[in-house]
Structure formats: structure tokens, C-alpha cells
């Protein structure tokens, strides 16, 4: 028997329009890696030979070693700093809590520039020592030590933020239970607090490892031959791009594998605070005579990661002005950056909307696959995405090759996850019951979207757009490879000046980049504060 109900519509499952939009976005995001794989497969035996070369293994080893070293040293800084600023009576801990996250504003290549220009050959330190002591050489900072130091100083705040969030979210009763069972403060930290922090450490550590493996600017300035630098040198110096492609594939698959493995591990061990979370303040550990040394340690971290680079850059700026080096304010580069970053932000926000709606309101297999595909941008290093688009542009989209739209597309692929993350949070906070109550009051779905959902999600959209905008302003490798001829941004200005060892000229874009980065960091810190 056929049942017919007037005005009834089929229910269940997401609207077709959203599914199609999400599928288009996801396909576009997955395009670079797919194309790279196809190219490598087409190259056949030649590519395989390169992948299984001893040299490739060496590059892999160097890259992994750097990632491991940076992640461990970042943890060695972030864990004590997080604990000291949240759980102890360290003097000035409120100020230090903010100050220790501020180094986020220093992009890794700016840190590298500061280190090289301060400690490298013909750097500040050597010049100072030459006068009175006749020192004409210092141990070279280039290579592994420089890259390690620069990346550690720029990335430890990522771990700090995630560990601190976990410390705040922990049920204070956990530590109280441990103390009541006879464990002292140290044993409690080791056996109750640390296991609770493990997921946060894994997530933050993964972020730093990915950042290190994908970072181009710092390793290039330090002339450390990790994957990204070798790939870049190959692209610049050789017409045959098979080597660059093959190496990109290895790096891309590796970072992608790392992300997938972490996701799997997290799925199995999901233990968060059960219940209402922290309602009363957690126990405060009294440091007694270690109070001041602890504060000094935190202050030293801020000084090395933020104070040092800013001071060095200001020194070079003053030197340049004193010696009449031609220093111009890079208006053109700033405008270029605003133009491409603005469109990238707009594109990323629009593209993330169907993904977020699907993931939050219609969770399931389809949503998981679509969302997973957009995360390739998070896992793939900028240079790998850029390289694949170079090929794609040359072979299939010649009119678009080395144009601004192509560059904007690359940015969208790279930074879509940033937008998805921000918008997703704000939609998650919006209870479906609010939308349902609007429906029950007679609003049609579109009306609900316009009158209820959009105004409530708006702040999240703005945060997402701002984060993508600021991140794009700093982007280096994709910009170098894909920008139209003569198209300059602050990042490429800095790159050109430091390649010419003209530190005074590099100082202006570097300082401006730090300034630009303060906005997303302010947003992040503000969010952290509200999360408490």
C-alpha cells in the first residue's frame, strides 16, 4: 500500500546541495597529492630509483632527526613552562603565562635570520669580538644546530598552548585523589597528571614535527639539507623535475601517514575529563626557594625566543640607517600580500562552510571522508603543494600558471584546515536545538540559516578568515614557486635580502611580519582566556 502524506518531504541525511559542494571542495583539496602520485607513477622506474637511493635515505634521516630534536626540545621547554604558569605560585605567573606564548609572532625564518645575523659569520657577535679579541671566526651556526634552535624557539608555543589547555581542563579531583592516596606532589605529577597530558603532548608534538618537516624558510636560511630545501634546490637548478617530484612524494606520504597514525591513536585512547570539568581551582604547588629560579627560566625563554630576534632586527635596522643603506618601506609588497591573502581568506572561508556543516550536523562516514580529504593541506608541506601546482599549471592550466588565482588556490589548499578548525568550533557551540526551535516557530531552513545560524556563527567565520589571512601573509615556499614574475610579498622580500646577506634590508620586512603575526596570536590568546 502506498502511503502519501501531503507536504511531506523525504527526511534523513544531509541536503544534496551541501553534499555536492563539500565533494567539490574535498576533490579540489586532494588534487595536488593525487596529481603528484600520478606523475611519479608515470615516470616509472626512474622515480623508483630515486626514491630508493641512498641519498634519499640520508635526506629522510636528516629531516627526521631535525623533527625529533625540535619536538623534544620544544617539549623540554613547553612542559615545565606550562606547569609552572598554571599550577604553581611562581612570581609573575600571569604575565609570564602570556609572555611565554608571544614568540608565536616570530615566523621560523625570521628567527633563523636573527640567529644567522647575530651568531653567523660576519654577524653581530663576531664583529663585537673581532675588535678587542681579534676573533675572525666563530663555530658556524649554519646547518643542524641553527635549524634546530630557530625551529625550537618558534614552535614550542604550539605545545605550550595544547598542554596548558589540558591542564586547565583536568578535573582537580584527579590530583587530589592521588594526594589522598599517599603520593607527594612529584609522584602525583608523574603518575596522574602526565598521563592526562599525553593526548595533548601527542597532538602538540605532531603539530611541531609536521611544521619542522614542512618548514622551508628556516632550513633554507640555515642551509640545512632537509627534504624541503633539497626539493627547492632541485626545482631551481634542474629542468628535469623527476627528482623533485619523487622526493615530494616521499615527504608528502610520510607526513600524511604521520597524521593518519595520530588520528587512529587518538581514536583508541580518548580519555578526557569526565563530567563537569574544573569547577574549583586546582591545587597550587608551593615552589618555596625555587620560586625565583623558575620565573628566571620562563623569562629566559621569552628573552631568547622573542627578545633576541626583535633586538637583533632593530640593531640591523639602526646599522642600516647609520650607514646609509637604501631602506625603503615595502608598500608594494604589503599591498600584494593583502590582495592575495584577502582572497585566500575569503576562498578558504567559503570553501570550508559545506565541509563544516557536513562534519558537525551530519556526522557519519561521508562526513569523515570529506573532512579527512581537506586535511591533506594540513599534512602536506607548502613546497609539495606548490610543486604539484607548478606541474598542474604547466600541463593542464597554462593560462593560470604563475597567476595570482593559482597562488590563491595554493593558499586555500594549504590553509583550509585553519578556517575549518575555527568555524567548526563556533558551529559546535551552537546547539541544534536553537535551530530546531526556530524551525518549530515556523522558519524555513533557509530562513533559519539567514536569521539564526549565520549571525551566531559570524564571529567564528571572522576568526577563521583572520587566521587564514595572517598565515598567508607569512607564507614563503608556495609564494616563491607560484607567484607571477616580479610579484613580491614581505616574505619574498626578506628571502631576497637575506640571500644577499643584506641584513639591514631584511630587517624591515622581518619586523613587519612580526607585527602582522600579532593579530592571529592575539585572537588565539583571547580564545584561550575565554576557554578557561
Amino acid at each position: 500500500m502506498n502511503i502519501s502524506i501531503p507536504y511531506a518531504i523525504r527526511t534523513g541525511g544531509p541536503p544534496l546541495l551541501i553534499v555536492i559542494a563539500a565533494a567539490v571542495v574535498a576533490t579540489a583539496m586532494a588534487l595536488p597529492l593525487t596529481y603528484l602520485v600520478i606523475r611519479t607513477a608515470a615516470a616509472g622506474a626512474v622515480a623508483w630509483d630515486i626514491i630508493f637511493q641512498w641519498d634519499t635515505a640520508l635526506i629522510m634521516g636528516r629531516t627526521l632527526l631535525l623533527a625529533l630534536a625540535v619536538t623534544s626540545s620544544a617539549l623540554a621547554i613547553a612542559l615545565p613552562v606550562a606547569w609552572l604558569t598554571v599550577r604553581t605560585d611562581m612570581p609573575g605567573r600571569r604575565v609570564l603565562a602570556v609572555a611565554t606564548t608571544l614568540p608565536l609572532v616570530v615566523p621560523s625564518y625570521v628567527n633563523a635570520l636573527a640567529l644567522v645575523s647575530a651568531l653567523g659569520p660576519r654577524g653581530i657577535l663576531q664583529q663585537w669580538l673581532e675588535g678587542p679579541f681579534g676573533v675572525d671566526r666563530l663555530p658556524d651556526i649554519h646547518g643542524f644546530p641553527g635549524a634546530w634552535l630557530a625551529l625550537t624557539l618558534s614552535t614550542y608555543p604550539y605545545l605550550l598552548l595544547s598542554i596548558r589547555a589540558a591542564l586547565w581542563g583536568m578535573d582537580p579531583a584527579m590530583e587530589e585523589a592521588s594526594r589522598s592516596l599517599g603520593r607527594n606532589a612529584w609522584s602525583t605529577f608523574r603518575s596522574a597528571t602526565l598521563p592526562h597530558l599525553r593526548p595533548a603532548i601527542a597532538a602538540g608534538g605532531l603539530l611541531i614535527a609536521l611544521y619542522t618537516m614542512g618548514d622551508f624558510g628556516a632550513v633554507a636560511l640555515m642551509s640545512f639539507d632537509s627534504f624541503t630545501r633539497v626539493i627547492f634546490v632541485q626545482i631551481e637548478s634542474s629542468f628535469d623535475r623527476t627528482v623533485a617530484t619523487a622526493l615530494s612524494i616521499v615527504l608528502g606520504l610520510f607526513t600524511l601517514g604521520l597524521v593518519v597514525a595520530e588520528q587512529q591513536a587518538r581514536g583508541r585512547a580518548s580519555y578526557h575529563a569526565v563530567g563537569l570539568g574544573a569547577q574549583r581551582p586546582p591545587l597550587t604547588v608551593k615552589l618555596r626557594r625555587l620560586r625565583w629560579p623558575a620565573a628566571a627560566f620562563c623569562a629566559l625563554v621569552v628573552l631568547s625566543a622573542l627578545g633576541l630576534p626583535v633586538a637583533v632586527l632593530l640593531y640591523w635596522l639602526r646599522e642600516g640607517l647609520a650607514h646609509n643603506v637604501e631602506i625603503t618601506f615595502p608598500t608594494r609588497s604589503i599591498l600584494n600580500g593583502v590582495y592575495v591573502s584577502g582572497f585566500a581568506a575569503l576562498g578558504a572561508v567559503i570553501a570550508s562552510a559545506p565541509i563544516v556543516v557536513l562534519a558537525v550536523r551530519f556526522p557519519g562516514r561521508l562526513a569523515r571522508i570529506v573532512e579527512g580529504m581537506t586535511w591533506t593541506g594540513f599534512a602536506l608541506p607548502g613546497i609539495v603543494v606548490a610543486l604539484s601546482l607548478v606541474f598542474f599549471g604547466i600541463n593542464f592550466a597554462t593560462p593560470l600558471y604563475q597567476t595570482a588565482p593559482m597562488l590563491m588556490f595554493a593558499y586555500c589548499v594549504l590553509f583550509l584546515p585553519v578556517a575549518v578548525g575555527a568555524i567548526r568550533t563556533s558551529l559546535l557551540q551552537l546547539s541544534p536545538q536553537i535551530e530546531e526551535s526556530a524551525r518549530s516557530l515556523g522558519s524555513a531552513p533557509l530562513g533559519v540559516l539567514v536569521r539564526v545560524t549565520a549571525p551566531l556563527v559570524w564571529p567564528g567565520l571572522m576568526v577563521g578568515a583572520a587566521l587564514v589571512f595572517m598565515t598567508t601573509m607569512k607564507e614563503l615556499p608556495a609564494t616563491l614557486l607560484l607567484a607571477p614574475a616580479g610579484f613580491r610579498t614581505l616574505a619574498t622580500d626578506l628571502w631576497a635580502a637575506s640571500a644577499a646577506a643584506s641584513y639591514s634590508r631584511a630587517a624591515v620586512p622581518a619586523l613587519l611580519l612580526i607585527l602582522v603575526s600579532t593579530v592571529p596570536v592575539a585572537i588565539l590568546l583571547n580564545k584561550e582566556n575565554r576557554g578557561r
Partner: protein, 351 residues
Amino acid sequence: MRQATEHGPILSVEGLTKRFRGGTLPAVSGLSLTMGAGETLALMGPSGSGKTTTLRLIAGFETPYEGKVSIAGRIVAVPGLSVPTEQRGLGMMFQQFALFPHLTVEQNVAYGLAGLPREEKARRVEEELRVVGMDDFKKRYPRQLSGGQQQRVALARALAPRPVVMLMDEPFGSLDARMRTEMRRDVKAVLRQTNTTTILVTHDKDEAFTLADRVLVMKDGVMQQLDTPDNIYHRPANRFVAEFAGMADFVAARFEDGAVSTEVGLFSYQGPRPDGPFDLLLRPDTVEVTSYPNGDCAITGREFKGAINLYSVRLPSGKTIWSAMPSQQVHRVGERVKVRAKPNSIVLFPR
């Protein structure tokens, strides 16, 4: 009621006062109590009454502003000096149980037994889990257990190190009503069996009455009464305790020929006479109604509670009081009745 044994009190608190920075009134003010071995004491009061702060002072998570705390004859806290929690020999149970999510049931229970040799530890874990009936769940993780099961594990974990005093902070607050009743009964049995001295914080009078040998009622940081559950209910020290401990009515009373006279009856009374006008405390379960067509009282409402019928009755003066009658005794609203009160003890409060 067990009082201090010849070994002295297990726990003693003297003139305990706690002020928080920025607070104008002390959170706890001049609190004193002593507890004997095996005794269970309930700290009862509305939220903000200082009961949890008192517990945390005893636990050592807060330090006193004035007064002192002794456990098993040893002073553990005076202003400015405090023995760390882990050295006080306590067991604690929390509202959300606070089981370590990264450890199995077995490892959770073993957590407080760090110093013991391996076989001894295994034996103790086995023993404690058997006491709470969780020995079949040793290898499970907390997230694989129901609320009641998690609570049993939390109890076993707290008992395993053989604490001198057990502290419980609203331990049944996150369980549903049926599970709560069952767990109360079981926890009480285990505490009896292990002869554990226990302090329980609760805002629920049923919980306090079921579990405790004595109940300490607090309001605004000040102790209102410390007595057996029966006395807290039938002989409350003031109106606040009377109302917090159950449904209460206060009817106008006066002295007449050496007895207390009210509109629900005349009661003989030997105690001290309050100055000025006063009221008599009535509990619904001591007020009886019977059908009486010519009576001057009337039923104004009925709440069916299952085991009992709770009636509101209008007295001749216009005052309405409660009466609890068996479930079979049904009166309709508006029916004329006769009211008789049979209070356990005559409790008078100045008006």
C-alpha cells in the same frame, strides 16, 4: 553512637576557622568536633554552608586561618603549618569518582599501595575488589564501567591503603535515584565491615540519615547542631535545622496548666519555658487526620507519594499544616476531618 575510645579520638577539630581572600565572612567559623573509631559523621547543609571547605581543611587541601586539626592524636594542621595531604593517612571519594582514566580497575586500586611488595599488593587489590564486589572487572578501564561500578572501584581504591579516616564529598551526587539508594546501602555495609571512620559531605538529608551515626548541620560556616539522625529530625536545635531535616510546620502555642496548648492538642511538657510567644514544631508523620463530618478542619490538598498520602490540612485558625497518612487512607479534597498530633518530643521555638 560511638564516642572516643580509650585510645582517644581518631579525628579532632578545634575552633576551625577558614577565611578566603576577598571574602568578608569566614567560610568556616569556630567549628569543633571529635570522632571515635568506626564512626560515620555526615556534614550536612545547603550549598555555600562551608561543609566542603571543612572537608578540604581536614584533607589538607586548604590551610586553616584559626584552630587545629588532629588525626589519630597527631596534629596535622594549625594556622601556617600543615602536614601534606599524602601524609595524613586519608581515603577520599569524590563526586565524579576521579578514577584515573589511563589505569585499569586493578591499577587504580593498587595506586595507593606504592610501597608494598608485589604479591602483597596483588592480594590487597584482590581483597578490596572482592569487598566491593568488583573482582570480575579487574582488567577493565573506568570508561567501560557504569556509574555504580565506578563508585565501587573508587571505594575500593580509597580503602586499599587502610586509611585512618575516609572523606567523602557528595559521593552519590552523580548517580541516578535508584542506583543511589542501592549504593548507599552497599557503601554503608562496607564501611561497617571494615570499621572505617568516615566523614561524609552531603546536602541530602536522606543520605545523611541513612549513612551517618551522627549528623553535623552547618549554615553560613557555623555549626547549627551535632547529633544523631533521630535527634536532628525530632529534636532540632533551631528552625533552620528543623526545616532542613524534613518537612516542618510551626503552630502557635502557649502554656496552660503546666502543659503546652495548641489548636491540635494539649501536650505535657517539663522543659524550660521560652520567653515571649513561641511555636510548636510538628512533623507530617506525627500529625494524624481522621474523617469527621462535623470537624472544623478540612483537607485542602493531597499528594500521592506511593507509600504515603501527604495531605495539607486547614486548621480552624486558617493555618495549613502537613499530615502524612498511609497510602490506603484516602480523603478527598474539601473533606471535613479531625486532626490529632502525637509529637515524639515537644520542641518549642520562640516566634
